[in-house]
Point group: C2
Chain length 279, copies 2
């Protein structure tokens, strides 16, 4: 069974970030309660596909991998995707990397240096919590490098991703959008609950105030780096149950596109059974 969610999330040329309905649930007509059983069933499917990907590498030298790229403003729900969607699959086959403020060593290298180091090995699902896109988002908004430097990066990123795709990496790029109201609600929740203080960063408000500039920067990312080989998906995130289901479906679609199957035995099953029974 395939879902109609993924097709509806692909960024369409000309689509405006300002017009995104962040409370919509494209491709899913039900409510939260309807989503729960679907999520459980689809998480199981994702888990099965992930194991097939892992098995295909392990036993049949399949060198492909999947890379989930999560971008979004603070409180858009990236952490929830990692915990609930990625958390549903076997950690053995997952490589998670969070890209924060670059270290001194990272800054002493090209911006893609730390990204390349974190690419998933064959047979794995890589998860980037923020990514090389920060180098044309926060870097652009705060003028951390000269405009001609970040300006050149869109093409560089496209070339980099072309190379990844050619080498067998299936990219799943997810741009997560919430409304400013929902963001405020989420941040307030962190202030209302002492077990969530650690997630709160006063700097988040400063970034929030830069939303118009971020909107412009996101628009440029979508306009200039949504390619046929690595399209962006625009995921409305006011309803967290929906964004989790949506990312689950995007990963399933990516894995299904690999036409995976359980590797055949590269040994004589009957002979091995006999050997084992005698051993």
């Amino acid at each position: 069974m395939s879902s109609s969610i993924p097709a509806q999330l692909v960024f369409a040329p000309g689509q405006s970030v300002a017009d995104i309905d962040t409370s919509a649930t494209p491709g899913f007509s039900g409510a939260k309660a309807d989503a729960a059983p679907v999520q459980a069933e689809r998480s199981a499917r994702l888990t099965e596909l992930q194991e097939m990907l892992y098995a295909s590498h392990k036993a049949a030298d399949d060198t492909r991998s999947v890379l989930l790229v999560l971008q979004g403003m603070d409180a858009a729900g990236k952490g929830g995707i990692v915990k609930h969607v990625v958390g549903a699959v076997n950690p053995m086959g997952v490589r998670y990397t969070s890209f924060g403020k670059p270290t001194e060593e990272e800054l002493a290298h090209d911006y893609l240096w730390r990204i390349r180091k974190a690419l998933p090995p064959a047979g794995h699902i890589g998860v980037f919590d923020r990514s090389h896109y920060e180098d044309v988002l926060i870097v652009r908004v705060h003028n951390l490098v000269a405009p001609e430097v970040w300006g050149a990066r869109y093409d560089e990123i496209n070339a980099f991703e072309r190379e990844l795709v050619d080498s067998g990496v299936r990219l799943v790029k997810v741009a997560m959008f919430i409304s400013l109201d929902e963001q405020k609600r989420q941040l307030l929740e962190r202030l209302d609950d002492p077990t969530k203080y650690w997630k709160y960063n006063p700097g988040d408000i400063d970034e929030r105030l830069e939303w118009p500039k971020y909107q412009e920067a996101y628009q440029a990312v979508l306009d200039r780096t949504s390619t046929d080989y690595a399209p962006w998906h625009v995921v409305p995130c006011d309803k967290r149950w929906y964004s989790r289901l949506a990312v689950t479906e995007l990963l399933i679609q990516a894995l299904e596109s690999l036409d995976l199957s359980w590797p055949a035995a590269d040994f004589d099953v009957e002979a091995e059974r006999k050997r084992l029974l005698d051993a």
Copy 2:
């Protein structure tokens, strides 16, 4: 609520590997059906503690970490521990590494080189699926290096682990034991199910035939590297539901020993609330 399982699993000086009752369930008197609700409840507790560890690093510069070391013969259930026990916690806070046959680059370095590279960052739970102990197990059984070389490693490993503990790593060393009968049953299962062929390796039978030598090598590991700062735990694994519960309890015990708490706000909560409502 604490469990009596961990205390019963600590390796006792003089304890013989040959005498381990691999079908026992030390510290748990119930059956499989009784374990299910306990496992669910304890997994939730583990998840909470892991988040506190992560939060303590993130918001309060706590530099401690936990390192789970899994050792055991083929089909002892290491993969199941990773999938079900480690899989229950947030992947954001987990660093999983599987140590297979060393690569050429790894062989060109000291045996602890690849181990050090894989140590968990502060605030994380590291998981070693096999470990530096292979360098005194498979290496010893197959004479991959001279006896004086592997013979020196027990003390080296103790010194290495002393350093880790001093630097804030809480080690949880788990030796998983199954009977030869249960191992045969598990390996046969892989031959009976085409979705499990990829887990089957004809070499496993060769290793199985070396069990007497492995038993000796495991005995030496337990005798010589179970220290007061990094004791070994002997986990009977014929009943997989038990071994999963046992490792869950060992991780909970390790995390509880860190006396974690939710970090206090390092900002003025009321001032931030006001700022946010105005923003």
